[in-house]
Symmetry: C2
Subunit: 297 residues, 2 copies
């Protein structure tokens, strides 16, 4: 069992930390929100007084933060950055979804402090975090991943090693960019069919066993009433927020520009999710993007 | 066993007719290309001297033609149109992929001649046609579909009744529009990953079990070498041609405009496949659209 510092106890971090506690690890936890720390303590963790206090005696440091600036601040801040305080034998695992360039920058700085670090963003959402069935998409050295593997296995069921530092972030953005486009075009297709008098459920059933099948037709169908358990059937609540998809598409656009890559559909999708956010749906599940093209959903 | 008139013996029609012959039906076949007729006769069909000659004694009339204008001409031409020559007890099944408005127009004209007609475009490609595993997407009266069902079952394995006349065409266009977008964005995602140093095969394997999974990641991956049996791994030959996808996206755009529907991603994809055609790749598999955004594929 390891001594783990867990920083960031939000919608994803809290259930991930809970699964590590269930597996028998000793966790020192920190979050800027006291209530989040209290909940983790109730689950068996020890409250740290600061992020530095959490890491000083750790074998493993795990962070799960909202965006690039939080990760950069946590590790690299001139006064409160963690890197000088983490024991050099420790392994650092950042599970946040952030810009690949930031992931590389932090990993390089960690290496200068003698620390091994991997980027391990996740796929599977809050349901996967709670069930311990997340997919980890890992960038970094293979030896570091092998050290992390038993810990990650306590929180997820699939682990993909996709390349060196930052590659986990790139791969996650590639997946989510495609997902964002697939969701939006599935909405377009269903709205087009309904405009011609078709039934969205019958059309979805046909598409789900045909060449247009996807997670959007089979699991998270954007049309209300087609799938009972999808966010669309409960007013687009729960699920993966529109503004989180918007954030990932923005990161994909930055990643594309940084290497001169073309992502015409990804860019258009980013604009569609931005329009859906502007329409007041930023907090709804991202499948609510169908509202841009459909009536009465 | 039925007396069937089969008109249109191209890449799809020929294997469909062959499966009907195997099932024991009596076929009178016609095509403007004599070699296509010869091949169907070798498979057990009887050559008709004209489309009219094919249908005069038929119980079932099946057409499988390239585009709306061919279907409209076949059935409605003032001098050679088939409708006045088809026995009124016969059932007409058009399997072509055409504009929904054309399908409705021809079905209405058929009804005026006392003829039942369904639109039954297919999904599954030439491989599905040869194997008898096509999916039929049917628009028209339920009673007409029930008469057609045993015949369709000789050529395919899934039959979806999606609505009244023209609905089969609408549903097929919805599916293919989504497919065209999904294929193109999968190419964008893989090209973005490769530009950042990722391996297209590892990235595809991750996406294939994640939320971006689709027929494009699992069956017809657009990156050469990822899937041995995909067109991309044999120079983008075989498969579903770029210009056929371009045709379907054009029909989807017409269908959207006719009801004031928005298909922003579908329209952008139509432009991408048009650019790929302009680049000289019109005859290649539609997954070659990745060439617009990737080097060395």
């Amino acid at each position: 069992m390891s001594r783990i510092a867990f920083i960031g106890l939000g919608n994803m971090g809290a259930p991930m930390a809970a699964n590590l506690l269930k597996a028998g690890h000793a966790l020192r936890v920190f979050d800027l929100t006291p209530a989040a720390v209290d909940a983790a303590v109730a689950a068996g963790g020890v409250a740290a007084t600061s992020a530095i206090d959490a890491v000083v005696d750790a074998d493993i440091v795990i962070s799960m933060l909202p965006a690039s600036r939080h990760v950069e601040g946590l590790y690299l801040d001139a006064s409160s950055g963690l890197l000088p305080h983490i024991p050099t034998h420790a392994l650092v695992i950042d599970c946040s979804t952030i810009a690949p360039a930031t992931a590389r920058k932090v990993a390089e700085a960690a290496a200068k402090h003698g620390l091994a670090m991997i980027d391990a963003p996740v796929s599977g959402g809050t349901a996967g975090a709670a069930a311990g069935t997340l997919t980890f998409i890992v960038g970094g050295e293979a030896t570091a991943l092998e050290r992390a593997r038993p810990i990650l296995a306590n929180m997820g069921k699939n682990i993909f090693h996709v390349g060196s530092s930052g590659a986990g972030q790139v791969a996650k953005l590639c997946n989510n960019m495609a997902l964002g486009v697939i969701m939006a075009v599935t909405g377009e297709a269903l709205a087009l069919g309904v405009s011609h008098g078709l039934d969205a459920k019958v059309l979805s059933q046909m598409m789900a066993v045909s060449t247009a099948r996807s997670w959007a037709t089979e699991v998270c169908n954007p049309w209300p009433g087609v799938l009972e358990n999808a966010p669309a059937s409960r007013g687009y609540t729960g699920g993966f927020g529109n503004d989180l998809m918007l954030k990932d598409l923005g990161l994909a656009a930055e990643a594309a520009m940084s290497v001169g890559a073309s992502i015409p559909l990804g860019e258009l999708a980013r604009n569609l999710y931005a329009m859906n956010s502007r329409a007041g749906h930023g907090g709804l599940d991202f499948s609510s993007v169908v509202k841009l093209v459909a009536k009465d959903v």
